[in-house]
């Protein structure tokens, strides 16, 4: 009985264990460079943009949908941040100019998601088709508004949101509050949260040993935290799971299916907008061709995390570990100077292996 329970426990945490193995292998292969505080901090910063998109994508996939437009929408939002900063001169308007650009870009993302969601709710066409269309339209608009060229430089008040760190004291305070909340939230089954706690501990240590908590990572924590809260603590979250499980039954049970669908895609757009402005801040310029294939990394993170593409099953913790797996692969292969063409091949293989192993485990439980 005890062996059985242990085995089930390990199966449930298969992706986390896979992640730890990956970390171990990378550390050995890089003579410990991988585990340095600086590298782990960078790894999480690299993971953040995908993590924000994946948080929204979790909701989208949970209701049985898909959103292929997020990369293009991020680019479009970034272009608006760039235009407002450079052409409209908001870069010269200090902090308020930075805020205005930020919210303009986020608003563009939200609006895109709002329109996509409305089309889905009204036309009842498969989300794959609508968002494929939206993907091409948003990319086209980004190229039109930018005249096909990148826009730079961004104002010095906007750039810090993607490059700065919280001070060490503030970082420590934030980490303590976050960890206490997380542990308290899981107090009834702490053993189930063991792997996440270990992972959080590892990254917290690196932040404190390096330059503090990256602001970029804060955005990811906020996005995932918001989605986690919605999913577990509100009737909106229940409706999301319910729609993905059986849309018709949800309708009969009084779930406002269209409204929830609409909100989910709007949130996805909002997250894509945030990603866009963060991306252009990090690169110090808005590129109309940015964000290509972002949607695929986001979908991969969600699926590696165990969310069913049919909808109705999945958690944000799964998406987090999926995001970390992808980021670790990218980062580790960079450290090992694997040529980028080969990286793509490896990443594809890992995605297929991870999902098929996870699926096999689930069926045997």
């Amino acid at each position: 009985m005890n062996i059985e329970m242990t085995r089930n426990y390990l199966r449930r945490n298969g992706v986390w264990i896979g992640f730890l193995i990956l970390v171990f292998v990378m550390s050995i292969a890089t003579n410990g460079d991988f585990l340095s505080a600086r590298n782990l901090t960078n790894l999480l910063r690299q993971a953040s943009l995908n993590g924000i998109l994946a948080a929204g994508m979790t909701l989208v996939i949970l209701i049985g949908g898909i959103d292929l437009s997020v990369g293009s929408v991020a680019a479009l939002a970034g272009i608006f941040a760039g235009i407002s900063q450079v052409h409209w001169g908001w870069a010269g308007a200090g902090t308020s100019g930075a805020f205005a650009s930020f919210f303009l870009a986020v608003g563009v993302g939200l609006f895109s998601g709002f329109v996509t969601g409305a089309l889905l709710a009204i036309l009842r066409i498969a989300p794959f088709v609508i968002t494929l269309g939206a993907m091409v339209i948003a990319r086209g608009l980004a190229l039109i508004f930018s005249n096909g060229a990148s826009i730079s430089p961004m104002g010095e008040n906007l750039i810090p949101i993607a490059t700065e760190y919280l001070s060490l004291t503030l970082s420590a305070a934030f980490i303590i509050v976050f960890m206490s909340l997380f542990i308290w939230g899981n107090r009834k089954q702490l053993i189930e949260a063991l792997f996440p706690i270990l992972t959080f501990g590892l990254f917290s240590y690196s932040f404190l040993a390096y330059r503090g908590f990256p602001i970029l990572v804060l955005f990811m924590v906020a996005a995932m935290g918001l989605v986690a809260f919605l999913l577990s603590q509100t009737s909106f979250g229940r409706s999301v799971y319910s729609i993905g499980s059986n849309e018709k039954a949800s309708q009969w049970a009084g779930v406002p299916v269209r409204r929830v669908t609409w909100i989910v895609y709007s949130l996805m757009g909002l997250f894509a907008g945030i990603t866009g402005v963060l991306l252009s801040s990090r690169l110090n310029g808005a590129d109309p061709n940015a964000g290509q294939l972002f949607e695929l990394d986001a979908i991969a993170a969600v699926v590696i995390g165990g969310t069913s593409l049919k909808g109705g099953v999945g958690t944000i913790m799964g998406t987090l570990i999926g995001t970390l797996v992808i980021a670790t692969l990218n980062n580790g292969m960079d450290l090992l100077s694997v040529p980028s063409f080969y990286q793509m091949v490896f990443k594809g293989i890992i995605i297929i292996v991870a999902v098929s192993v996870d699926k096999g485990q689930r069926q045997t439980i």
Binding site: F236, N246, A253, G254, P256
Partner: protein
């Protein structure tokens, strides 16, 4: 009579739970065997073993075909040994023709290509043999469920199956279709086939079968010739206790004021096709109003449109208590204190990937504001209480709803509907696919509800059940109301007569 197949000492367990426990079963030619038992008794598991779905090695015990021990590693092996299974939910391909459906996977070929002429010719021969009322080139999806059922049998015959297993084949058939199905089954029996008939319907078992095997908790508890086993005894073997009645005592009560009234109520679908009405009805507090009619008569559509079905456009007026309302979405219906349990549990009710707890609470939570905070521990308490009241058999609230039997699933769905504290409850086929014991419990729940002053609109294709439960029955035929009977006037033949009555279209 000759023995075609025998299962000996078959035991199958699912992670420690014994689904079958040393079961023995003998199938003989020229015989229709009834396999009966409550949901969860092990019928499906047994048939899955016989048809190779659970391969040899995943269970203990032996299968003998024509006296020889046989091991199936896949359903294909079983098919080759002459065993065919026809599932409750048809597994046909609606977008292929009848001939293609019959020969799927076994297409006659010429030079490696499908020989269409041969395909249709062979199909026609088999269709004639089973007396199916269709052409080989008809699209499967355009045929009635009854005809599709018969084509499934034709498919089995095309593979020279000698043993045909039918799992509740009549649940979606009209009485006429049932009749022709039975004729066919009897003919097959006389031509030397062995048939296994799985059903909850007593009438069918006694009309059709020769021998009965009763399964309970994975064991064969009784075997007898059908002619020698009276119905009450059969039921007591099935449930393991004696049920002196099929139905609880009908509660006498005073009916209250009118709570619902519809006038000139008519509905059509989005494509403009007439579905029902115009018709006028009323419902009083504490009353059970039954809807009788054939499948497809429009009964379900009437109830669905009362509950705000998005695909039905309605005309006419709906009055709840004394105010006229429009119900455009199930959410609005819930706010007007209506509740609804749909006819097809899998399609209309179950959230298969979610826990019992979430399945129970979804209507109460979702019909409120979306941003409402959940109180998880309070929610679980509420769910536990609801399910305990329903006497649901379960191991934990976190269990997946798919692990429960049909009867227990139905209780969960009823509990979900009641959590919104409705005044008027719409139940469409509430006992479909539910075993005898759970049926009785559902009847008790229904009677308890009306004694508390709730009112019910009820559809059931099981006429004796409908007559036992209703205060009043309206009969629907082709979307129109053809008759109304008070409880004292109930008569099966009169109701059936009105149910098949042709209605002159009053409006086009």
């Amino acid at each position: 009579m000759a023995e075609l197949a025998r299962l000996s000492n078959v035991t199958k367990d699912f992670s420690g739970v014994k689904a079958l426990d040393a079961v023995n079963l003998r199938l003989e030619s020229n015989e229709i065997l009834a396999l009966v038992g409550e949901n969860g008794a092990g019928k499906s598991t047994l048939m899955k073993i016989l048809s190779g779905v659970y391969p040899s090695g995943s269970f203990t015990g032996e299968i003998f075909i024509d006296g020889k021990p046989t091991h199936f590693t896949s359903p294909l092996d079983a098919e080759k040994s002459g065993i065919a299974i026809i599932h409750q939910e048809l597994s046909s391909f609606p977008h292929l023709t009848v001939a293609e459906n019959i020969f799927v996977g076994h297409w006659p070929t010429r030079f490696g290509l499908v020989d269409w002429a041969q395909l249709n010719k062979k199909a026609l021969q088999i269709l004639n043999r089973v007396g199916a009322n269709c052409k080989p080139t008809d699209m499967m999806g355009n045929l009635s469920v009854g005809t599709q059922q018969i084509i499934e049998i034709a498919k089995a015959l095309s593979r020279e199956s000698r043993i045909i297993i039918l799992d509740e084949p009549t649940s979606a058939l009209t009485p006429k279709e049932v009749k022709s199905l039975f004729l066919l089954l009897k003919e097959l029996k006389n031509s030397g086939h062995a048939l296994v008939y799985i059903s909850h319907k007593m009438e069918e078992i006694y009309n059709l079968t020769d021998r009965i095997v009763v399964l309970r908790d994975g064991k064969t508890v009784h075997t007898a010739l059908t002619s020698e086993l009276p119905e009450e005894k059969l039921i007591s073997h099935m449930v393991g206790r004696s049920l002196d009645r099929l139905f609880p005592h009908f509660p006498t009560r005073e009916l209250g004021d009118q709570v619902l009234k519809i006038e000139n109520f008519a509905g059509k679908n989005k494509a403009g096709k007439h579905l029902f009405g115009p018709l006028s009805l009323n419902l009083r507090r504490g009353e059970i109003l039954g809807f009788a009619g054939l499948l497809g008569a429009g009964r379900s559509e009437i109830l669905q449109s009362l509950f705000g079905d998005l695909n039905i456009e309605v005309q006419g007026s709906l009055k709840l208590k004394n105010s006229t309302v429009k119900v455009k979405h199930p959410r609005e219906a819930l706010r007007h204190n209506l509740a609804f349990v749909g006819e097809d549990r899998k399609r209309d009710s179950l959230l298969p990937t979610r826990s019992l707890n979430e399945n129970v609470s979804i209507a109460r939570l979702a019909s409120n504001s979306l941003l409402r905070w959940l109180n998880n521990s309070k929610e679980k308490n509420t769910s536990s209480i609801s399910l305990a009241q329903m006497n649901t058999k379960m191991s934990s609230l976190e269990q997946s709803i798919q692990e429960l039997s049909g009867g227990n699933q139905q209780k969960i769905i009823l509990a979900r509907a009641l959590q919104t504290s409705p005044e008027i409850i719409i139940l469409d086929e509430p006992t479909r696919g539910v075993d005898v014991g759970a049926k009785y419990e559902i009847y008790e729940i229904i009677f308890k509800l009306v004694q508390q002053g709730k009112s019910l609109l009820l559809v059931s294709s099981d006429l004796p059940e409908l007559m036992a439960l209703s205060d009043r029955i309206v009969v629907i035929s082709e979307g129109f109301m053809t008759a109304e009977f008070n409880r004292s006037e109930f008569s099966e033949t009169e109701i059936m007569k009105m149910a098949i009555k042709k209605v002159a279209r009053e409006i086009s």
